[in-house]
């Protein structure tokens, strides 16, 4: 699905990541962990094309990400669902339209997707909040709405950046449950988190691999968490 080959990234003040190689196989579930500032978000951005590596190559769906033009990049983003750390909503639109935003911008007819949309809202437990504006949502509701938006185009890969960062344990369990269900439907999942308890909880339910960023390198953490 997504493949990083000897990827390095440099913000200008020294290398943040160097010689990172990883392959996200279809249907796999990966956790990405590491201390704050280690480059978790940067690595995720490299995976969905928001950043271009300073060295090495990123391939997604057998396409070289660096070689994509802006329109091809937009099409790539429709195939990768991303839950951003800060959710990134349009604050002037109600939740339901924010969730439907990928449908809207890809020119799909919303009236035909109405049933799917309702089902999805129900799945993330936001049916009652459909008409609320994003700033009115709680942290957990925002994360669930962001997850719903990331899967609306039924992408093959879902990338989540600290989806449980601002929510309590019960809510993070609920979010994890949703991610696990998506993985069971065959989606490839990559979740950045520093919450070890969440990783342990996930390991009981799915075959999850853990990648750790340490000293600019990506290492496969063992099962000994």
């Amino acid at each position: 699905m997504i493949e990083l080959e000897n990827v390095g990234y440099n913000y200008g003040g020294g290398e943040l990541l160097s010689d990172v190689s990883v392959k996200l196989a279809p249907g796999s579930f990966h956790f990405l962990t590491g201390p704050s500032g280690a480059g978790k978000t940067t690595l995720l951005k490299l995976c969905y094309g928001a950043l271009t590596p300073t060295s090495g190559r990123v391939r997604a769906f057998n396409m070289d990400v660096q070689g994509l033009d802006r329109d091809q990049m937009a099409h790539l983003r429709r195939r990768v669902g991303v839950v951003h750390q800060d959710c990134r909503f349009l604050d002037h639109l109600p939740v339901i339209e924010n969730i439907a935003l990928p449908l809207i911008v890809s020119g799909k007819d919303l009236s035909q997707e109405e049933a799917n949309l309702r089902e999805l809202l129900n799945w993330v437990g936001l049916s009652q909040r459909a008409d609320a504006l994003p700033p009115e949502l709680s942290g957990g509701e925002r994360q669930r709405a962001a997850l719903a938006r990331s899967v609306i185009l039924s992408p093959d890969v879902i990338i989540a950046d600290e989806p449980t960062g601002n929510v309590d344990w019960e809510m993070s369990q609920r979010l994890l449950q949703l991610l696990v269900e998506l993985n069971r439907m065959g989606k490839t999942i990559l979740v950045a988190t520093h919450d070890m308890a969440l990783i342990r909880a996930a390991k009981k339910q799915v075959q999850a691999r853990v990648l750790r960023i340490s000293a600019k390198q990506l290492i496969q953490a063992g099962a000994d968490l």
Partner: protein, 299 residues
């Protein structure tokens, strides 16, 4: 632009429209600017057309006419006039020659001396209107002959004062045309500024749209459509007001001179109607360019 895209631009997409938050104040400014510019464009157009008409008329009418002025003592005037008319009738290239009647001369002098002028008591020269035929007469030859036979006759073919008038009218027309171009340029500049402001104010929105997979064309379209329609609407209002203003101007008359001729005649009333679509076109090009440049800076 394909027909489908054009239709989409005009009809719009209700969902796509909501994606960019409404912008109250800049919207009003764009409307006002395009309205004011269209209003000015109507006047520049009227001025340009009227001076163009004037230049053509003057050039045409005056080129074909000349005046023979006979300065002679009152008792010889009638005889000299007859002689001059005879010479003129014999000259090849003169289509007709006619002495002005006393009434006509009084009428010509009325603007300066009033109509109650006892013209008989004044040494007013007799005027003869000479209309040139095609091909025209030989001016130099005619002058030489007149000089020899009627020393008091002066042939004035109007060139001396015609040329600067026609030049002035043509310059006025050029100024009008330059004004229209400047107005179009200023409109483009102001709409570019407004579009840039709107794009900058909505940088977050644009970023989110890119993140969820919107194409540049989709994002640009949302802005371009707004600004194009605003420019079209504003210009339409401006043109209607401008045309009303021109329509209120007094009709062309001899008393008012050329100033009252400012306006549109016949089919030219249709010309200002082109201003709103052209304004929309200018806005479309300006916003498209601004959006392309802005979006190119984003990932």
């Amino acid at each position: 632009m394909s027909e489908g895209r054009l239709r989409k631009l005009i009809m719009g997409d209700a969902q796509a429209d909501r994606v960019v938050p409404p912008s109250g104040f800049t919207a009003q400014l764009t409307l006002f600017v395009s309205g004011a510019m269209a209003f000015l464009a109507v006047f520049a157009l009227a001025l340009s057309l009227a001076s163009g008409r004037l230049a053509t008329r003057w050039a045409d009418e005056l080129a074909r006419a000349a005046t023979l002025r006979i300065n002679a003592p009152a008792e010889q005037r009638v005889a000299q006039t007859e002689a001059a008319l005879t010479i003129l009738r014999q000259t090849p290239g003169v289509a007709s020659a006619r002495a002005f009647t006393t009434e006509e001369q009084i009428e010509l002098l009325a603007p300066w001396f009033g109509s109650a002028l006892p013209i008989d008591s004044l040494p007013v020269p007799q005027l003869i209107e000479v209309i040139e035929g095609d091909p025209g007469y030989d001016g130099t030859g005619l002058r030489l002959r007149l000089q020899a036979e009627l020393p008091g006759a002066v042939l004035d073919d109007h060139t001396r004062w015609r040329a600067p008038l026609v030049d002035a009218a043509r310059a006025l027309r050029r100024l009008g045309a330059v004004s229209i171009l400047l107005i179009a340029g200023a409109t483009a500049a102001m709409i570019t500024l407004a579009a840039n402001a709107a794009l900058a104010a909505n940088a977050q929105v644009i970023e989110v749209l890119r993140l969820v997979g919107a194409l540049d064309s989709y994002i640009a379209h949302a802005f371009v459509r707004r600004f194009t329609l605003r420019a079209l609407g504003g210009a339409a209002v401006g043109v209607v007001l401008g045309m009303f203003g021109v329509w209120l101007m007094p009709a062309a008359s001899n008393e008012g001179g050329f100033l009252t001729g400012l306006g549109f005649q016949g089919w030219a009333w249709g010309l200002p109607l082109l201003i709103p679509p052209l304004g929309a076109l200018v806005a479309f090009a300006a916003t498209t360019r601004a959006a392309k440049k802005r979006l190119g800076d984003l990932t």
